[in-house]
Symmetry: C2
Subunit: 242 residues, 2 copies
């Protein structure tokens, strides 16, 4: 019955970010009737331990919780996995070793879109959790492609602002979160970034609530992952029983 | 690890409506960190045949497609099912006979909230698909509680406006859908309705995009179902392995 293969979205990290990825998949694949939309299953069990706590402070590992989600998605008929959390990509290889399904990669999705809007060698910025920075999710791979990462003039104060913006957003105070994140983005643009990767799924959710003129300088990693999800679904056959 | 039981959301009918229900669950249960949010799994495989087509024009039944979703949610660890489509509630009893999980009921959720805002005997309106009207999803049960349904002055033209609003929303033209639905709501209020049940999951999605002063006269069935979902999750234990 399905003409597209079903996506498995590993969400809940946090819940708003998983929902945002699903909304972007629906919005970016316009359809005139329900039946033409991309099928997906969103696993949003946010009791997975905090990723940054695990990476920076030796907190409980989120891997088992993520694997529970991956296995639930496998059993539900998903044909691939997309992880709606940039920091969780620190465990991408570990997940890939423990599932028979392909796992999409947000860094690959971002790299492919970055090449369409700035030249290799261009100065770029990255807004992300401390966990994503610490685990080198983005930097080595994009530097290998020739991009150069700029830092804000006051890196510690900058990261504190990003952390606070993400924390407020996760706690539901999305408007104040957006204000903090817009200020943080401005600092990276002032430092010369031609594009700023919005490399935490909460960031585009929050920035969308404040009318910032900076929006066009951001590269929304969630939107890039959503487009990779759509491309995967359209390129693959649904399972035989569907 | 979980402190709450996991909800299974049967979505995809349409995809925006399922996502909207999840968003309302997250927004209406504020939490200061990811781990305190309600866990849920959203099954959004929109290839389920159209519900109104099945009810009115002898189209393919959506029951098998819905059962696929229910069984996938069962296997993924969901502890109950909520159906993010009012028209699909025409198959509520059939679904309840085919699953061991409790299935929440949008009509019960609406009835419980209606009693808090209008007196029994009050005139109310219902905006819904022709399928929901035809299958008597709401009317007999709310009339049994003493409510009186008013009709728009020109019922055929009114339903055509509702249909067009829902169709535009499903096709992604949410703004024009919202304008049509706001006009339709005004017709029911002009006919004396004290509250209008927004009894199709697309309707609140669309109305939210147009700044209508009528909003406070609407009773959003999705929001009522979201609150019933939260109450269920908080009242139930997670499975032992979680």
């Amino acid at each position: 019955m399905n003409s597209h293969a079903t996506l498995g979205i590993l969400g809940g990290m946090g819940p708003a970010a998983g929902i945002d990825l699903c909304r972007k998949i629906v919005d970016q694949h316009p359809a005139s009737r329900d039946q033409d939309h991309i099928p997906f299953i969103l696993y949003s069990v946010p009791q997975i331990p905090d990723r940054t706590e695990a990476l920076l402070h030796d907190g409980a590992s989120p891997l088992d919780g993520m694997l529970d989600g991956v296995h639930a998605l496998e059993q539900s008929g998903a044909g691939c996995i997309a992880i709606a959390c940039n920091t969780a990509h620190a465990w991408l290889d570990a997940l890939r070793h423990r599932t028979r399904l392909p796992v999409l990669d947000v860094v690959e999705a971002v790299a492919s879109e970055l090449s369409a809007c700035v030249a290799p060698g261009a100065p770029i910025g990255l807004m992300a959790t401390e966990g994503t920075h610490h685990a080198n999710v983005y930097r080595p791979r994009l530097e290998a492609l020739g991009y150069r990462f700029v830092q804000a003039a006051e890196p510690l104060a900058h990261q504190a602002l990003v952390n606070e913006g993400i924390r407020l957003t996760k706690a539901g105070d999305v408007r104040r979160g957006g204000e903090a994140l817009a200020m943080a983005m401005e600092q990276l643009l002032a430092a010369g970034a031609q594009r700023v990767i919005l490399g935490c799924t909460e960031i585009p959710v929050a920035l969308a609530t404040c009318e910032t003129p900076l929006g066009r300088f951001g590269l929304d990693a969630s939107a890039a992952l959503a487009r990779a999800c759509i491309a995967w679904s359209l390129a693959h056959e649904p399972p035989a029983h569907a």
